[in-house]
């Protein structure tokens, strides 16, 4: 093996331009695979962190009838908050509409305690004393509804008896969160106010757990763990990863094809050399090994080259982040204006293994033929 490595290195070093091209293309594949996956992993980590901090906490207890994907369940999905569980942050959900500048907008009204510490929502603004119904909204909803801090707007909702009621709410703060699911079409108000407005005192639709929370045995509340809540993000990112892989799969395919082609050509061009190896006492199997190692050596050289220019590039991008286009922010998944890629150990090692393995295989396939070569014909250069 040591001999094969040494010989392979010499041969590939002596092969000139072709080697350089193969190595360059292959090194691009390395860098792009690691870069794109690093961005996705960075996004994944950022999305999870933001979503935990702003929405999921350490798991949620949802009212048994509540289905977050079905707004018709909202009206009937509420129950009294379990007693002696200050670790649970109750959220009461209600449907309503607002009338900014005379237009009607359907919104989801969410009541949350102003003193909660579990989520990053700036709920202390819900204690604002200036007006009766201070609310907070996210930057996206602020933009789509054209509401600003200090604005007042008419809110209409149906009470438990199904009759309409109306009041003026006051925008006391606009929060900046990457999580669209707590922002788009939502208005957050003090849960005390919502209790009064809906006559559902001490009730909630869902309860958010904090770090110290223990499970709750109850038939009223369905527990969804943080991990289950995050699995949707994982799935979306995984799908995104697959679609972004097209780019480097193509590049890798080109590199592998070039290696394959080089191998086929070199077996033809280097027949006398193959014959000479056999005459000097190598078995043909060993020569196959030599040519295979030679082909996989391209990936080793590419690895060196890739780390040469890739490392500073990766470090630089990690520092400044990737700006995300406005349009890409509309994916329904938490996404920051800049994504900071994460180059995990397993990503780097995994990429190295895949590329080295793939180039070894495409080197081996043509080299395998050497085992069937007649050394006499090879020495005469008569193999077609």
């Amino acid at each position: 093996m040591k001999l094969a490595l040494k010989l392979a290195f010499k041969n590939i070093y002596g092969a000139g331009l072709r080697t350089i091209l193969n190595v360059i293309v292959l090194s691009f594949s390395f860098v792009i695979i690691i870069f794109l996956n690093g961005v996705m992993d960075g996004w994944n980590a950022q999305a999870k962190k933001d979503t935990i901090e702003w929405e999921y906490g350490y798991g949620q207890l949802r009212h048994k009838d509540y289905d977050p994907y079905d707004p018709y369940t909202i009206l009937d999905s509420h129950a009294p908050i379990p007693e002696n569980r200050p670790d649970l942050t109750p959220i009461l959900i209600h449907q309503a509409s607002i009338y900014p500048e005379g237009r009607m907008m359907n919104i989801v009204l969410k009541g949350i305690p102003a003193d909660q510490q579990t989520l990053l929502l700036p709920t202390s603004h819900l204690n604002a004393q200036e007006k009766q119904y201070p609310v907070i909204i996210g930057k996206r909803f602020a933009a789509s509804s054209k509401l600003n801090v200090g604005d007042e707007v008419l809110l209409r909702w149906r009470d438990v008896n199904g009759t309409y009621d109306a009041n003026t709410i006051y925008i006391s703060a606009i929060f900046d969160s990457n999580v669209p699911t707590i922002d788009d079409g939502q208005i957050w108000m003090n849960i005390n106010n919502l209790w009064q407005m809906t006559d559902q005192v001490n009730e909630a639709t869902l309860l958010v757990l904090n770090e110290t929370s223990t499970p709750l045995e109850s038939t009223l509340w369905n527990f969804t763990s943080q991990k289950e809540l995050l699995s949707t993000i994982e799935e979306i990112i995984a799908t995104k990863k697959i679609s972004s892989s097209i780019m480097y799969i193509l590049l890798l395919a080109i590199a592998l094809l070039a290696i394959f082609d080089t191998q086929v050509l070199s077996i033809f061009r280097r027949q006398k050399e193959i014959g000479t190896y056999v005459a000097l006492g190598m078995t043909r199997r060993k020569v196959v090994g030599l040519f295979t190692v030679e082909g996989s050596m391209y990936s080793i050289l590419a690895l060196f080259l890739a780390s040469l220019y890739g490392t500073p590039f990766f470090i630089f991008i990690k520092k400044i982040g990737i700006p995300v286009a406005e349009a890409d922010q509309e994916v329904g998944l938490a996404i920051a204006e800049r994504i900071f890629p994460i180059y995990g150990f397993s990503l780097v090692i995994g990429t190295v293994i895949v590329v080295v393995l793939a180039s070894t295989i495409v080197s081996f396939l043509p080299a395998r033929k050497i085992a069937k070569i007649n050394p006499v014909s090879a020495l005469k250069g008569k193999i077609q």
Binding site: Y13, E273, A279, M282, R284, K286, V376
Partner: protein, 236 residues
Amino acid sequence: MDKNLIIELKNLNKSYPVADDSFFALKNVTTQFFKGEFSGIVGPSGSGKTTLLNILGSLDQPTTGSATVLGHDISSLSHQSSADLRNYHIGFIFQVFNLLPVYTVFENVEFALLLQKKSSSERKKAVMQALEWVGLADKAAKKPNKLSGGESQRVAIARAMVKKPELLLADEPTANLDAENAHGILKTMKTLNRELGTSFIFSTHDEKVMGYLNRIIHLRDGRIENDEEISNPKFA
């Protein structure tokens, strides 16, 4: 059995399929070679010299008949034993040198020893000695493309001799050399034959080579025509 007997050929035939017939490159060759011989297979082009040498070196196999080389039946050798036979016991020299272009002179000569897994100090010592034999110690670091034809063939000799094989097979080694270089390498080989006791078998139709041989086997159309001992060669 004579313990100096190193090669025994019995009714050796080698044929190639041509159209729906067979072409015989070697016909019923029966002969013996002995330790320390400086012998040659002589004949016009196409007479079967290379075919015979390749069988002796276990690069090829007889169609029928038997070839026993250094105690091994060539027809029944495994790939590994055949490779070992060449690696340890048989050296090859070709008409076209066949040096490995990406290796230096030193590395070309070192190759067989690497396969033998000799230590680096052993290899260095043996390679430098072999290069001394052929007078190229000062060219050790050169690449083959920087050498003249005569020098290249000397490297090939060093490469074949570095493992001190019992048998050296040289297929028209002077065909690409001028007279001066031809005589040079022949003198070197003759000296190695005397000092190391290596048996040499040439294939040639070069008069200069014949002038050094102690035994000439004349081959014509794959058949041994004549086998002559030469007690006092012209250049010895």
